[in-house]
Amino acid sequence: MMGHLETDMADAVRTAPATVASVRDLKVHFAAKRGVVHAVDGVSFDIRDGETLGLVGETGCGKSVTGRSFLRLLPVPPGILAGGSVTFRPHALCEDCDGAGCDACGCTGRKAVVCPSCRGQGCATCDGTGAETIDLLKIDTETLRKLRGDRVAMIFQDPGKALNPTLTIGQQVAEVFLQHRTDELIELAGLSPETGGALRRFARQDHRFGDGILLSLPPFRGQRRRIQAALDKMVARALAETQVPNPASLMDRYPHELSGGMRQRVMIAQALACNPDLLIADEPTTALDVTVEARILELIRDLQMRRRSSVLYISHDLSLVRRICDRVAVMYAGRVVEIGPTAEVFRNPRHPYTRGLLAAVPTADTPRGGLAAIKGTVPELVDPPAACRFAGRCRHETEACRRFDPTLEPVSETHAVACFIDHPAPEGDQPSFERITE
């Protein structure tokens, strides 16, 4: 009976869709003086296990807001989470093979955590997948705190701003371990797992009045030092993974003493310290030189491969996304207008905006002054009308585009686009790539 149940559970988890996170109809609005700005207005996509999904778009298209909503890092107010969900399925080491890779986990060594309410049978909370499914927008802040930096981590654009200038590198990276790896830390320090009181609070970064004096007294002093030494060891290991030279000396330095590339490595070390299932990288190389950028990308890619983390890579740089992403989602004015495998989207873009973006990048063959610029500017997102968001800038628009709002529909098994060129318009003229309307 027991055995039967276990096989059932394994089956259920194995058939679960290999998505690490799903965004469904996400809407994030901002209250402004002129009205409500629909910064993200119905965005849906999946991030599959182990893939790198690129989220590209221009300034103000809502890509960063989407990324930040995973960790609820949006200022509310003025931000309004107007609807939708961001679900996340945490993964754990496969207990059958202990990370070596077996049939049960599809040779990845990792398995989705079994849903606690139905024990893998499939229920309403887990969409019938049997895998634990957490709605990141609904859970309480305490649970979110446990996930942040542990299961879902983020790398920010400007490491100069994201690092605390008053703390040393060692102190900042250590925070991740103090918040999420208290037990491991106590074990590494050679203390008993039952250690409690002030020492555990020390290893959890939870200071109480009097702890300082208590921990400076003889029996505790030595143990505290052992925890500190264990912490330093973990931090040095995390930093060493990002190929920084001499991690031990780096730990005593402050962010301003480091170059941009070094700071970004520290951020990566921080983000990947706990082996997150999902890494949100928000333009991690925009502030860096091209030679350093190549190195950082290589590093992210390498570490991701080894840990099999999934990455949401937010960028405005198409050529970069093309180089490192498996799939790409193109955003425009708060919507995903096209999503598909990178090679396919770049070879055969189906949305006029994607085509426009690709044509706007200067290449070796473009005659000078002959760049195909997209006319006009991004529309204001205050109470947008029911119309294609790209209407008004599109070279192929018809009356239908101005009256109806296209939804994201598949054009092939893997590739979806929100445009009437590939899907029948409800009424009126059908736009097409052949017909250019100015």
Binding site: V290, V292, L318, I324, A360, P362, A373, I374
Partner: protein
Amino acid sequence: MSAAPDPHPTPASRPDRAVLSLKGVKKHFPIREGAFQRVTGWVRAVDGVSFDIRPGETVGLVGESGCGKSTLGRCVSGLTDVTAGGVYFDLPAEASRLLDNIASGTATDAEKARVAQIEAAHRIDRLQGAGYKRFRRNCQMVFQDSFASLNPRHLVVDIVGRSLRVYKEASGTELTERVVELLEQVGMGRQHLYRYPHQFSGGQRQRISIARALATNPDVIILDEPTSALDVSVQAQILNLLSDLQKQHNLAYLFITHDLSVVRHMADRLVVMYLGKVSEAGVTSDVFDAPHHPYTRALMEAKPDIEGAASEQAQGLDGVVPDPARPPRGCRFHTRCHMATPSCGWEVDDVIRRLEDIPGLFDALSGVERKSDFAASLTFGDAAAAERLVSILDSDGIPAAMRSAMGRLERRDRTVSVAFDEVPDVDLRITEPGRVASCVLSPIEVFQGVNE
């Protein structure tokens, strides 16, 4: 060539001249320390750069951040004084040759006398009165951050019309009409006249900056990262606009950028800078087809491509740009070069640059006695530490090229003596007609990638 120019001569109509000519431009910033702000060293931001900008052409200036390209832009436009060398405006070819002769020490006395005259008439920091005004009118600048470079308290009509008013070219209604004309040239219109900069998008603000630069009908515009803060679709609009304006007005551009695909699209000729010096210069397409300097090659390989095969072979460079206050000897790039040879200028400081990150290696160092940049004795607290350094210097821990450049490495008790072969600094040399590069390797060797 008289010292008093006619009222509105345009160098653009005379192709035998350089609109701007840089001759050995250096800009060093003092490092001050202590209570009395004593100068303790110099940051060599720009360290001897020479090139010409001819009428109607675009010269692209590329390099990593901190290589001195923006400082050079400010020197060229006269916003910063140069430490040495000179920037010459509207320089005839004959005068240019004369100045080169002086620099190489082959000039006659008569020629030396002529130079003073030329400098007074063309060197931008010696120009006075009408000559200086003429330079100012004809050399304009567009900055990267359009928000910071437009006065937030001024209306567009004031910003764009300012120079017309200063040069007393127009006033009242005529001024407004001229401003409208300028705005229309950059794709904007009358409705934008009475707005403030914050009411515009980044692309529109950059258009206003360009309109302001065009107001005095210049010969040359220095564009310092004009599209770096813009999105790709807006960037395309601005680049198209710049190309159109260039054709209409026969403008010369100095296009400073770190974006190689933009510079490939825009520039006729390319100047690649590294650590204050030119590492390579030539016609853009030639440089892209076959770089003659390993640094240029590394830059191009690191650049992600939108077309062609999506490769993940981007190499990137190790290490950081060395301190410009104490740039490396020989070739400045040798500390990060994949193709470095023994004759690239390895020096004592490279021992520190290479090995400073090894934990504890230099903890016991008690004294350094420098004989020259290429030879020194390092004294340690104990013999074991000295022996450790010797063993690392004699192993694969350092590049093979560096090891073979080491003429002497010996330990006497607690003292390690190192001496490298002395080599002269690597200067720019002509590698092909119209191409210069500062590399000890031949173009073929750079192409093949020796020592990689």
